[in-house]
């Protein structure tokens, strides 16, 4: 433990100092989008509550949105890198709208399932099992 406490600042300090003093690029946003996407996929696979699966879907769509906005941003564009321009922002808007629609329908289905089966555990949804 003492060894770790001695090693960690010597590794983390230059990294953190570099992050603080240098401007962020598209890759930084892509890292955030990747983490959100992975958390959403794991959440979709892991949760047994139907509403938890819905929250995972929201996280996945949000991670994709971060990537779209980063590629369309005028501030993050490196030299010689292509940019989506306004298209990325408009696509992000459409994604937000479709996520709202998807959440409304999925929630209605979940409530219907809860009314019929008295549970929201998706492992119990096996009426269509062959």
């Amino acid at each position: 433990m003492n060894h770790l406490a001695a090693v960690l600042p010597s590794v983390a300090t230059p990294l953190f100092a570099g992050l603080l003093s240098s401007p962020v690029g598209v890759a930084h946003y892509l890292v955030v989008g990747a983490i959100l996407f992975t958390a959403g996929v794991v959440c979709m696979a892991l949760k047994r509550n139907a509403l938890g699966v819905l929250m995972g879907i929201e996280l996945v769509l949000n991670g994709a949105n971060v990537n779209f906005v980063a590629f369309s941003s005028p501030y993050l564009r490196g030299e010689g890198a292509a940019s989506l321009g306004l298209d990325g922002q408009v696509i992000a808007l459409f994604v937000i709208l479709l996520a709202a629609a998807e959440a409304a329908v999925a929630l209605a289905i979940t409530l219907n399932f809860y009314n019929n089966h008295a549970t929201v555990d998706i492992d119990r949804a096996e009426d269509l099992k062959g």
Binding site: V31, I35, A39, M55, E79, L93, Y114
Partner: protein, 259 residues
């Protein structure tokens, strides 16, 4: 322009809080490792703040077992993502994220949590072997995505363009089918750039159909057969049922005797 203004105001704030020559307090100073105050890029600091909050809350959504806590962490994660959008210069998308996602979709989800929050379903545990497996798959996916993110060289070197117009007006005109924004550097200027009138109409119809469909699916139905939840509530146990039957017959006897 907004970001530059934000950064300058933040650096002014920082210089009033801590004198430029003086040391930064506490953990920040220890981690920053002697970066002088003037060299700190406040855009990056705010980005780190919002990014850490978004990622930490997304991981907390995965790790939490309680549905209500998951919804709360999701609110925090989506709100910090809106902050990231503001920092990237997409202020209209950030505002829509706050209004539609945090204000609308999350309220819908919280209503769903409240309507289904019976005691056995608030915290449904996942088996630990599933957790380990999902963690391994997630780590592999994250490794692939991070490698792809850092592979392209120009994405790592930002240029911090000095001027950028606000995007709300071009987005509104593009949704009407007219493009008033400058073409992106990679796109030849002679290319015909289409607006977004047709996708806008499709999304409008989609939202209308979804609204009708959700109202149809979630409507209160009058049923001939008793609902499963009522059956589950009434069949609490043979002892209680027998006691209730005895009580009802006794009350029938009493009322009959009264007459």
């Amino acid at each position: 322009m907004m970001t530059a203004l934000l950064a300058s105001s933040m650096s002014m704030l920082g210089s009033t809080l801590w004198p430029i020559s003086g040391p930064m307090p506490g953990v920040l100073a220890a981690l920053a490792g002697g970066v002088p105050m003037a060299a700190v890029n406040w855009h990056s600091v705010l980005f780190l703040l919002f990014a850490a909050m978004a990622c930490a809350c997304a991981v907390a959504v995965v790790l939490a077992d309680n549905v209500v806590r998951m919804a709360f962490y999701l609110v925090l994660s989506l709100a910090s993502t809106a902050g990231l959008f503001f920092l990237a210069g997409a202020e209209f998308v950030g505002a829509m994220q706050l209004m539609i996602y945090v204000g609308g979709t999350l309220v819908l989800l919280v209503f769903g949590v409240m309507l289904t929050a019976q005691a056995p379903f608030v915290a449904i545990k996942t088996s630990s072997s599933d957790r380990v497996l999902a963690g391994m798959v997630g780590a592999a996916l994250l490794a692939v995505l991070l490698q792809a993110a850092f592979r392209v060289e120009p994405w790592r070197r930002p240029a911090m363009a000095a001027e950028a117009a606000p995007a709300a007006t071009p987005i509104g005109m593009a949704l009407l089918g007219v493009r008033v924004d400058e073409p992106a550097p990679g796109v030849p200027a002679a290319a015909v750039r289409s607006g977004y009138l047709l996708p806008f109409e499709i999304v409008s119809m989609h939202l209308l159909v979804v609204l009708v469909g959700a109202a149809y699916l979630a409507r209160a139905k009058r049923r001939r057969t008793p609902r499963a939840i009522d059956v589950a509530a009434s069949s609490v146990g043979p002892v209680v049922a027998a006691r209730q039957a005895a009580r009802s017959s006794a009350s029938a006897l009493v009322s009959g005797g009264g007459r």
